[in-house]
Symmetry: C2
Subunit: 186 residues, 2 copies
DNA sequence: ACGGTTTTGGACTGAGCTGTCCAAAACTGA
DNA sequence: TCAGTTTTGGACAGCTCAGTCCAAAACCGT
C-alpha cells in the first residue's frame, strides 16, 4: 500500500541520527508516516526494520563508494581523497556521520551478528581498495614497498575517524586539513 | 559509606561497554554492588552519574595521555606511535574502544552540551600535541612546511578511527599495520 | 551506651516502551 | 457491484524503565 523502500529510508535516517536504542517505535511511525500496524505487519520488529535500514545504507552508499574505488581514470591518491571527502560534504538531508560506524560503536561489542554484517559489507571494499593500490604501485604511483592491504585498512580507519569527528560537529576546514595530512601517508 | 570513586569507576565501565541508552539503572546497581537508594542519594540521576563517569574517564586517561605528549625525551614520531598504540593494547578489564568516542557517536548530535564537554577535554590535548610538533619541527624532526595543528588533529582522528575499529573487534595485527601506515604521514 | 543523623534495601509509582489485536476501511479480481 | 483479502488506525496489554519513598539498619560523636 505504501512505498516500502521509502519507509525504510525514513527509518534509516532516524536510526542514523539518533542510534538504535534512542529511537522509539513511535519515532519510526512519525518519520515514516505509518501506523504501528503497517510497520509491524511489514517489518516484524524494530530490530528487523533496523536490519533493513542497515542493508539499505550499505546498498546506497556502498555502490557509489565501490565505483569510486575502481575509477581507473583517476590517480589512486585522488580516489582516496574523494573517498575521504565523503565525510566533509554530507548529502543534504543526511544526518552527520555514518550509520555503519554508529552501529559498530553502539552495538558492536554487544551484538556480534551485527559486527559480522558490517564486516561482510566492509570486506569487498577493503579488498577492492587494496587491489587498486596494488595496481597503482605497479604503475609507479605509490611506493612499491608499502603494504596495499595496510594502506586500504588505514584509509578506512581515517574515514571512520572523520565520521566520528563529524558527530562532534567538526568544521569542514578541520576535516579537510586532516584529509590532506592523511594523504601524506601515501 | 562506600567508595564513591570505585562506584563511579564501575558505572563508567558499564557505560563504556554498552553505551548510555542501553545501560539500565538496574545494571548500574549490579555493577556497583549498590542499591537504588545509595545510587540516587549520591548521584541524583542516571545522567548525572554518566557525567561523573565521563569526567572520571577524562581524568584517568587524559592525564597519562597528556604526559605522553609532553615527553620530550622521546622523538615526536615515537610519542605519536605510543598514543596510537593505546588503541591496540587496552588495559585488562577495560571495554573495547573509548568512552569519549562512544559518547560523541551515540549522543553527539542530540546532546550538544556533551559535545562541549568532550571538546573542553579534547582541546588541551590537541594544543599540547600541536605545540610538541612545532617544537619537533624546530629541531628538524618533522618537515617544517607541515601545519602542526593539522597534524595534531590528524593524529586524534586516526586514534578515533582505531577506537571504532576496536569496537568491531579489529585484530591487533590490523591495528598495528594501520598505525605504521598512519605514521608515514609525519 | 545512646540519641540523632545518615545510609540502606526493596517495595512502589507513573510513564514510556515494544509488540498485539481487532474492527473498519481500502483494495482486488471478476 | 460485490465477496474475499489486505491494510490501516488506534486502543490495548505486558513489561521495563528511571526515579521515589520509608522503615529498618548502620553509623557517629559524646
Amino acid at each position: 500500500m505504501f512505498d516500502e523502500e521509502q519507509a525504510v529510508d525514513a527509518a534509516m535516517r532516524v536510526f542514523w541520527a539518533s542510534g538504535y536504542e534512542a529511537t522509539s517505535t513511535q519515532a519510526l511511525c512519525t518519520a515514516t508516516g505509518l501506523g504501528r500496524s503497517s510497520i509491524y505487519n511489514t517489518f516484524t520488529s524494530k530490530r528487523t526494520l533496523f536490519d533493513r535500514a542497515l542493508h539499505r545504507y550499505f546498498e546506497t552508499t556502498g555502490a557509489t563508494q565501490l565505483a569510486l574505488i575502481q575509477r581507473e581514470d583517476l590517480p589512486i591518491r585522488e580516489r582516496v581523497r574523494r573517498i575521504l571527502w565523503n565525510a566533509v560534504e554530507p548529502a543534504p538531508g543526511d544526518p552527520p556521520g555514518c550509520l555503519a560506524i554508529n552501529t559498530a560503536v553502539e552495538l558492536g561489542p554487544t551484538h556480534p551478528e551485527l559486527v559480522e554484517l558490517l564486516n561482510t559489507d566492509h570486506a569487498p571494499k577493503l579488498a577492492a581498495l587494496a587491489e587498486a593500490i596494488r595496481t597503482a604501485q605497479a604503475a609507479g604511483e605509490v611506493d612499491a614497498a608499502r603494504d596495499p592491504a595496510a594502506l586500504a585498512d588505514y584509509t578506512f580507519v581515517v574515514l571512520g575517524g572523520l565520521r566520528v569527528a563529524a558527530r562532534r560537529g567538526a568544521t569542514s576546514a578541520s576535516q579537510i586539513s586532516v584529509i590532506e595530512a592523511a594523504l601524506q601517508a601515501f
